[in-house]
């Protein structure tokens, strides 16, 4: 209980940091917001029209990626699994790239996040369809198909990048999107992402018990009466919703879905009844804090995507180093 309160306070603190850090004074900021809420004005206000949407996008993305990571690690019984395992983010990224190539975003900005969502879903459906043998989806086949499709999509994207390498305008735009920025987020991003994230989170919450049973092994779960195939499909669908939403909101945020659930599991144990809500709460908190730090330290040359990738890489390396010293952490994580 104490931990929950502490973590909630921690979340509220990071939310306040995002909402109340900026050039405008707090009184003026709140005054503008109040006037808009009271219907006295319809003018654009920094708090309600920029900082709040940014905080929501950050919270949704953090929570979505952390929960998606926790679910993937649980389903694959592998602490190194991440939402990228099924090629979901590669699919989204490829479709966004196609939008940029054809310049469709110039007429309809909404197409960028929409392409990210559709690409993620399309990839999941393809992976699922291709890994079906005699109407059954084996986990082993699913991993391999996911990796194969992901590799293929990344290869296609690289090939396209190579083909269009002389178009430096396109490269600039693509690099900017891939870096995962939180600048200029607005209610459009929130509206696109929020229903996806809420649905994905709700589904993961609903299957917390089943995930606990599945961690005992597939056979045991079947014996207890869990419809393993259905649960798995629905959870994968949720992961696609969560990842697609995160791509639509910010772009690529590497390593976050891999590292954070891993840390939470090592502190709070593998019980999904705790793990899933904690991942959502801490995911949202950590991403907001990181964004606050990047802005407070004036690291404008870095995006949130760059920072998570660097920190994730360092952390991953530290884990490997620790594993070499103390034996296999992979085993310990699930023991």
């Amino acid at each position: 209980m104490k931990t929950k309160i502490l973590l909630t306070l921690f979340f509220l603190l990071s939310l306040c940091l995002i909402l109340f850090t900026g050039d405008m004074g707090h009184t003026e900021l709140l005054h503008h917001a109040w006037k808009k809420l009271a219907g006295e004005t319809s003018q654009w206000t920094p708090l309600l029209d920029e900082r709040l949407p940014r905080a929501l996008v950050l919270s949704c993305t953090g929570a979505a990626l952390a929960v998606a990571g926790a679910v993937m690690q649980s389903l694959f019984q592998n602490p190194l699994a991440s939402p990228g395992y099924l090629g979901v983010s590669s699919g989204g990224s490829l479709l966004v790239f196609l939008v940029f190539i054809f310049g469709w975003q110039e007429n309809l900005t909404l197409l960028i996040p929409l392409a990210a969502v559709l690409g993620s879903f399309g990839t999941l459906l393809l992976v699922w369809r291709l890994s079906k043998t005699n109407g059954v989806v084996e986990l082993y086949h699913l991993i391999l198909t996911g990796i194969a499709i992901s590799t293929l999509l990344i290869a296609v994207q690289n090939a396209l990048l190579y083909t269009y390498r002389h178009d430096w305008h396109l490269l600039q735009v693509m690099t900017e999107w891939q870096a995962g920025s939180t600048f200029n987020r607005n209610w459009t991003h929130v509206h696109l992402q929020l229903p996806l994230t809420l649905t994905g989170l709700w589904c993961c919450f609903a299957y917390r018990k089943e995930m606990n049973i599945l961690s005992l092994g597939e056979e045991e779960a079947k014996n207890i009466g869990v419809d393993v195939a259905t649960v798995r499909w629905r959870l994968f669908l949720s992961v696609a919703l969560l990842t697609g939403g995160a791509l639509a909101g910010i772009g690529i945020v590497a390593f976050f879905g891999l590292i954070l659930p891993h840390i939470i599991r090592s502190f709070f144990g593998p019980n999904h009844r705790k793990l899933i809500p904690l991942s959502a709460l801490l995911g949202a908190t950590v991403l907001m804090l990181l964004d606050f730090l990047v802005r407070a330290l004036g690291l404008h040359f870095l995006t949130i995507g760059n920072v998570t990738a660097i920190l994730g890489g360092v952390f991953f390396f530290a884990l490997l180093y620790q594993a070499r010293r103390r034996g296999s952490w992979l085993r310990r994580s699930y023991s």
């Binding site: 050039d23 319809s42 003018q43 305008h169 209610w187 649905t199 040359f301």
Partner: protein, 367 residues
Amino acid sequence: MSRNLYTYLLPFLFIASWWSLAFYTHNSKDSEHTITYFHPKKTLHSSHFSPLNKEELRDALTGNWDLVAKLIHEWDIDAELLEERGETMKRLNRREIREIYKLLRLSKEAREKTFCFFPHTYFSASLLLALVDPQWITSLPQGFREELEIYPSSFTNRVEHDVDPFHLEYAMGEEKTLAFVAPFSHPTTLTTLEKRGAHLLSFPTPITLDELEEEIQQVGRYTDEEERAKLLCYFIRAARYNLENRLKIDPLQPGTTCYLNARTVLSLPGEETLVGDFLKLLHLDHTVAKNSISDTPIELEEILQKQPERVILSVRGAPLLSKESIEAFAERNVDLYLIDRELQQTVSQFSLLALFDLCSIALETGS
């Protein structure tokens, strides 16, 4: 079966209704504000100066030396007339004008070359096409002739072949080849060129007009076209003086100008870039990212805190602005100017056209 259907249908309906409610109302809600985008003019008209046409400038920059001399002469007369009325104008001095006519005569003489030239960068391709007889240019870098907003096809069609930076089949000419590369050129390409016997000349990206002139002169020296290079530099300087003089007569209205690069996010240009230098020259540098060579992302809130009178958006095609941003600008009566990003970011003698566009905006706000 029906339970299964509901399991999928309910979340689907939830998402679909959220989106339709959010985006239908979002799009159908009539904006209280209308916003007009302004574009840079094609010709600058003024009662004190002869008209300055962008296409004419572009033509001169392709190496039309007679036009170069004609325009310099016109601008000089404009400045002289205004000086007679007591204005202090920037202009080339007598010695420089005399030199221009001498250079014009010399630049028309055809020169036999002992080298072929391979431009590996857009910068060098643009300069070589203007300075050197095209028969001595082996090929153009891939994608160069597609930049139609900057380089006219009559200019790029002077050379037949394109070269892919990694497949250098047309890179080498029959004579010894001078390859114009950049510090950012791919090391493998440089090694390949060297192995094939090319002499490499590396040119860094100029970040000021003075540096640009310096590099043009260097290219002129290496290609034995010093006269043409000097003429081009004089032309750029004279054009810049003419634009500055126009602004002196019709000065910019007071108020902050915010220049923004609009790609997937909004960003301020770095001070240490050619665009940064242009903005400084035209006194539009109120919001450039100080001491920076690259763009700095910026939030709408920060832009509005600067209380800009006008915002210049460097875009490719339509502006990628959210409805909220447009409304925020409209509420504050901010004038929005759209400017071509390709031209703004180009680094060659054609950068003068980017300066022209910016000056056109500055003059529009002044009039």
